[in-house]
C-alpha cells in the first residue's frame, strides 16, 4: 500500500494550508479571548436543580456586572454534595440542608447559605369542585398515608363547608425521582405528624405508603391533570406557571393560607429566630400567621475556609450581591425572596468565610 507521494505533494500542501488558516485564526482569537478574561475569577458550582432557573439568571447578570464567570451544573443535590466533598467544585447547591453526619463527612467546615425560598403546592383534580379546597395538616397526612381514602371523608368535609365533595377514591400522587420538593413536603409531614415521622420519615425520596409516582414536577402535574380525583404536590413556581387550582393549608396559627410568594417569604420570616441559631432549621410549619406551612429553603454550600483566596473572595462577593440586588430578581421567576432577617443571617455568616484563616470580606 504505497501512495505516489510526489504526485499528491503539491495538492496536499494546498489542502493543508486551507485547513490550517482558519485553525490559526481561531486559536489566535481564543487566546485573545482568554487573555481578555484572565484578570477575572472563574467559579464552578454544581447541585440542586430546583433553583437552577434563578441561579442561571443570577450568574448571567452577575457576569455582566462584574466579569466574574460562574459555571453551574444542575446535576442534582445529591451529586452536588458529593462534588463539594470531593473538592471538584468551588461551591455546591442543595435543596436539603446537610445532616450532622453529612457535615461531619466533609473534609472541612461547610457553611450553608439559603438563597431563595420555595413552597410546595397541593394541586388536585376534582372536576365537580370549583372553589379552592381548604385542607388541615391531618387531612394532608391522612391522604398520603393512605388512611383517608375518599374525597368526602369527614376530615376533608369538615373544613370545606358547602363544597360538594365527590364520593370517589383519592389518588395521591408523589414524585418518583429524588427531589428537594419531596424533601420539603415530607419534612412538613414529619413536623405535623408523629406517625409520618416514625413510619416514613424525611428524605429526598421516601418509601411512600400510598399513591403513584410521577417523574419530575411535570410528571406529577401531568398525572394530576389527567387523573380525575387525584391530588399531587408540585413546586409553587410550577403550579403558578401552569395555573393549577391549589389547596389552602391550615398553618400553625390556625389560618388557612394559600401558597403564594408572599406567604412563602412569611414562612421563612416566622422561622428567622431559629435560623439565626442554625440556618439549617426547616421553615416548614412556620409560626407566622401569614405563612403557608409547606415551605423550604434552598442552599449554597461553601467551605468556610477556601484554599484559593481570590476564589473565596469572589464567592463572598457574589453572595453579598445575591442577598441585595439578586433578591430583587427572584420574584420574576416565581421564587420567594428571603425575609430581611434571613438576609442578615447570611450577611453575618459571610464574614466567617476565610482563606488560610484570613477573612475575605471586611467587616462592616
Amino acid at each position: 500500500m504505497r501512495l505516489d507521494r510526489s504526485a499528491n505533494h503539491s495538492a496536499s500542501r494546498a489542502w493543508l494550508k486551507t485547513l490550517t488558516m482558519p485553525i490559526l485564526a481561531l486559536t489566535a482569537f481564543a487566546m485573545f479571548a482568554t487573555t481578555g478574561l484572565a484578570e477575572s475569577v472563574n467559579l464552578t458550582g454544581a447541585g440542586a436543580t430546583f433553583p437552577y432557573p434563578i441561579y442561571s439568571k443570577w450568574f448571567d447578570d452577575y457576569q455582566k456586572e462584574t466579569g466574574t464567570q460562574i459555571n453551574y451544573q444542575s446535576i442534582g443535590s445529591g451529586a452536588g454534595i458529593q462534588q463539594v466533598k470531593a473538592g471538584t467544585v468551588d461551591f455546591g447547591a442543595s435543596d436539603a440542608a446537610l445532616s450532622n453526619t453529612q457535615l461531619k463527612d466533609m473534609p472541612r467546615a461547610v457553611i450553608h447559605f439559603p438563597t431563595v425560598a420555595g413552597a410546595v403546592a397541593l394541586a388536585y383534580n376534582l372536576p365537580s369542585v370549583s372553589q379552592p379546597l381548604q385542607l388541615t395538616p391531618e387531612a394532608v397526612v391522612g391522604i398520603y398515608l393512605g388512611k383517608i381514602k375518599m374525597w368526602n371523608d369527614k376530615a376533608i368535609a369538615a373544613t370545606n363547608p358547602g363544597v360538594a365533595l365527590p364520593s370517589a377514591p383519592i389518588m395521591p400522587i408523589h414524585r418518583s425521582d429524588g427531589s428537594g420538593t419531596t424533601n420539603i413536603f415530607v419534612t412538613y409531614l414529619s413536623m405535623v405528624s408523629r406517625e409520618w415521622k416514625e413510619l416514613v420519615g424525611i428524605g429526598t425520596s421516601v418509601s411512600w405508603p400510598a399513591g403513584i409516582g410521577g417523574k419530575g414536577n411535570e410528571g406529577v402535574a401531568g398525572l394530576v391533570r389527567q387523573t380525575p380525583n387525584s391530588i399531587g404536590y408540585v413546586e409553587l413556581a410550577y403550579a403558578k406557571q401552569n395555573n393549577f387550582t391549589v389547596a389552602s393549608v391550615r398553618n400553625k396559627a390556625g389560618k388557612f393560607v394559600a401558597p403564594t410568594l408572599e406567604s412563602t417569604t412569611a414562612a421563612a420570616a416566622g422561622a428567622s429566630a431559629a435560623l439565626a441559631k442554625d440556618v439549617r432549621t426547616p421553615i416548614a410549619n412556620s409560626a407566622d400567621p401569614a405563612a403557608y406551612p409547606i415551605a423550604g429553603l434552598t442552599f449554597l454550600l461553601v467551605y468556610q475556609d477556601g484554599k484559593d483566596a481570590a476564589k473565596q473572595k469572589a464567592i463572598a462577593d457574589f453572595l453579598s450581591w445575591a442577598m441585595t440586588k439578586g433578591q430583587g430578581e427572584v420574584e420574576s421567576l416565581n421564587y420567594a425572596k428571603l425575609p430581611d432577617a434571613v438576609i442578615k443571617v447570611n450577611q453575618t455568616n459571610m464574614l466567617k468565610l476565610t482563606s488560610h484563616g484570613k477573612p475575605v470580606l471586611a467587616a462592616r
Binding site: 443535590s77 451529586a79 454534595i81 411512600w208 409516582g213 417523574k215
Partner: protein
C-alpha cells in the same frame, strides 16, 4: 501486497480488527468490575436478601430489589406476549405474501418506528395510551375478566404495569418484524418451490419457510427482549413508580431501569447509591440469564441447527 517475513499491512489490519473485538470484551469487563465495586457496600450490608426483600426505604437505608426485578420481568413478558405474534405474522406477510411495493413501504414505516426516541413513546403512553386504558380498556378488563383472575383487579388509572408492557411491545415490534423479514427473505427459494411441487398448499409452504428461518426469528425475539429489559425512559413515565408487588397488571409498579433513572441523581448517602448500583448489576445479570435462556431455547427449538441461521 506480499506476505513476507516482515510486518505487512495484512498483519496490521488483522491486529486492528482483533483490537476492536477485544475492546468489546474489555468494556464489558470494565462495566462489570466497576458496578461490582460500586455495589460492594450494599452487597456486604444486605447479601442475598437484596434479591428477595421488598423493602426500599432510603430514609432508613433498607434496600431490596425484588419489586423492581418483578416489574422488569413482568413488563418484558407482556411486551413479548403482545409483540411476538404480531411481529412474526407481519414479517411472514411482508416476505411471503405482500407485493414488493407494500413490503418496502411497511419496512420504511418500521424503520421510522425504530428510530423514534424512547421519550416520545413515553409521552405518547402518558398522554394518549393512559386515558384510553383508564376510560376504556382497563374498566372492560376489570369487569369481564376481573372476577376470574387477579391479573385484572383494582382501580384503573391507565398508568401501570400494563401500560408499560404495551409501550414496550410497540417499541420492540419493529425489531422483530425487520429482522424476521430479512431472515425469511434470505431463506432459499428452493424451499418454497419444493414444498409447492410436493403438493403443499400456500399455507403449508409458508410453514416450511418459517420453520427453516426459526433460529433467525428467535434471534430477533432475543434482541427485542434485550431492548425491553433495559428500556428506561418510556417505562419510567408510564409505570407508576411504586415499589409494591401486586399481581394485578393494571396496578402501578416499577422496573430496575426506572428506579435507577428516578433516584440516581438525588441519591445521598453511600449505601443508597451503592444499592442503586447493585440494581444495575442485578439488571446486568438478569439480562445475561435471560439471554442465555433464550439462546438455550433457540438451541432446543432448532435442534442445534445453527447452519440454518448461518444460511439466513
Amino acid at each position: 501486497m506480499l506476505r513476507g517475513k516482515h510486518f505487512t499491512f495484512d498483519d496490521a489490519y488483522r491486529g486492528l480488527l482483533m483490537a476492536a473485538a477485544a475492546f468489546v470484551f474489555l468494556i464489558v469487563a470494565l462495566i462489570v468490575y466497576e458496578t461490582a465495586v460500586g455495589a460492594g457496600p450494599s452487597m456486604r450490608a444486605f447479601g442475598w436478601r437484596f434479591l428477595t426483600s421488598t423493602d426500599w426505604d432510603p430514609v432508613n437505608e433498607h434496600f431490596g430489589a425484588l419489586p423492581y426485578i418483578y416489574g422488569t420481568l413482568v413488563t418484558s413478558a407482556i411486551a413479548l406476549i403482545l409483540a411476538v405474534p404480531i411481529g412474526i405474522s407481519a414479517a411472514v406477510y411482508l416476505s411471503e405474501l405482500a407485493r414488493r411495493g407494500v413490503g418496502s413501504g411497511v419496512s420504511f414505516v418500521m424503520e421510522l418506528l425504530a428510530a423514534i426516541p424512547s421519550i416520545v413513546y413515553g409521552v405518547w403512553g402518558f398522554f394518549v395510551l393512559a386515558p384510553w386504558l383508564r376510560n376504556g380498556i382497563e374498566p372492560w378488563l376489570v369487569n369481564n375478566l376481573g372476577a376470574w383472575t387477579p391479573l385484572f383487579s383494582g382501580t384503573p388509572f391507565g398508568i401501570g404495569i400494563l401500560n408499560a408492557g404495551i409501550i414496550l411491545s410497540i417499541m420492540i415490534v419493529p425489531t422483530i418484524i425487520s429482522i424476521s423479514r430479512e431472515v425469511l427473505l434470505a431463506t432459499p427459494r428452493s424451499f418454497r418451490e419444493a414444498s409447492l411441487a410436493l403438493g403443499a398448499t400456500r399455507a403449508e409452504a409458508i410453514g416450511v419457510v418459517v420453520d427453516a428461518a426459526r433460529p433467525g426469528i428467535l434471534g430477533s425475539v432475543i434482541l427485542a427482549l434485550g431492548r425491553a429489559l433495559g428500556e428506561t425512559m418510556a417505562v419510567t413515565m408510564v409505570i407508576g413508580n411504586t415499589n409494591r408487588i401486586t399481581f394485578s397488571l393494571i396496578d402501578p409498579g416499577a422496573s430496575m431501569a426506572s428506579v435507577i433513572a428516578n433516584e440516581f441523581t438525588e441519591a445521598t448517602g453511600k449505601l443508597y447509591l451503592s444499592a442503586l448500583i447493585e440494581i444495575a448489576l442485578v439488571l446486568f445479570a438478569v439480562t445475561i440469564v435471560v439471554n442465555a435462556l433464550a439462546r438455550l431455547l433457540v438451541h432446543w427449538a432448532t435442534g442445534g441447527r445453527r447452519e440454518a441461521a448461518a444460511a439466513a
